[in-house]
Symmetry: C2
Subunit: 220 residues, 2 copies
């Protein structure tokens, strides 16, 4: 509990910093291979003409994900946890100096691929978005309730593989909302593009609201 | 480190118990939704005429997986970790009394779906087998090296979805063997049955060797 309390104190500090700079920060969580990086690539493509986007990538090892985002023309920092199964507020905080927060509207923090531990650690984000790929199965909300409980949006990804995965979208949605009645559920495929407009439509007013509070850029 | 040392002491105790009863124990690990339970269902169907099989299921919550295995006619115990992201030797030990080890040849322990933490906790098994589903992506050996390092066999699952997942089997195999040159790599689909015979052929002599050492049943 001391560990979590210490984390939450740094998370509050991060959150104040993000608010002051008018940066909307989204903590992106999922199990391994649910498609977080592919989603971020497609999201950057959809939004970079209108918003200044940055990315923090979390992985135990490698910087391949940060390299993928940099190739999309956005600043991306790679945090390597070297064995730890989640990001921490402190881990994010120590790397923020490498980003020019004043020059960003939107910052995605891609957490370590893990359906359990990342949900316990507030990073200072405004929203927690989780991905569940259809290939993982519709039983996951029952087995891993905490992350579904803590998310504000659930993206059901890889919907192009819905049929061969025998994924029951209605059952997964109902099970997720049993813990979290206001959860936004957005099915999409970042590969085919189906559903991406719904995700962008969810994201954009939230990004503008944070900025409006801080700097008034979108207030007109 | 004290936590791991305490775990390892109980794991040695479990291992001695399994050996004495001639039970071959396999710790089955993967990220969430890689198909562990579906694999065990198909493996039970393939082997139950020749071996007496038991299953221990690990999940944070629910007993749906144990129920699926019991429906296959084998004894199955469900361990709920209530938030913890991996099984421990102690957690397994406290439930062993519910199984008649003397009446088993083969015991599968299905770990919590998590590519990180389960690899650090020896449960007393003879073999650690991990699953990587093609839908998770071929970059996972580089990102989550420990589990690939600790496994004796890597099952590449859901090969019926290989093409739409753009999974490079050769790259994943090479990356995995970079840490673990003797790793057995077995591609399969528990749904179509392709590759299941290779997995059974890997498993069966190992099961018989443990029993031969303990009871001589297969010695003839």
């Amino acid at each position: 509990m001391d560990l979590l309390a210490a984390n939450d104190a740094v998370a509050r500090h991060n959150r104040a910093l993000f608010q002051r700079h008018g940066v909307y920060v989204v903590n992106v969580m999922s199990g391994p291979g649910a498609g977080k990086t592919t989603l971020l690539e497609a999201t950057v493509d959809a939004l970079r003409a209108r918003y200044r986007i940055g990315v923090i990538e979390g992985d135990l090892h490698t910087d391949v994900d940060a390299a993928r985002l940099r190739a999309r023309g956005v600043p991306a920092i790679q945090i390597n946890t070297e064995g730890a199964c989640h990001l921490t507020a402190e881990g994010v905080h120590t790397r923020l100096g490498e980003l020019d927060l004043g020059a960003l509207d939107l910052l995605f923090v891609e957490n370590v691929g893990n359906l359990v531990c990342p949900a316990e650690f507030d990073l200072g984000e405004q929203d927690r978005v989780m991905l569940l790929s259809v290939t993982e199965g519709d039983d996951k909300p029952l087995k891993y309730p905490l992350m579904f409980h803590k998310a504000t949006a659930l993206l059901i990804t890889k919907t192009d593989l819905m049929d061969p995965s025998r994924f029951d979208l209605q059952q997964a949605t109902q099970a997720s909302r049993a813990y979290n009645k206001d959860l936004s559920v957005i099915p999409l495929s970042a590969v085919t593009g189906v559903g991406m407009a719904d995700w962008v439509a969810w994201l954009e007013p939230r990004c503008r609201a944070v900025d409006r509070g801080a700097r008034g850029k979108w207030a007109s």
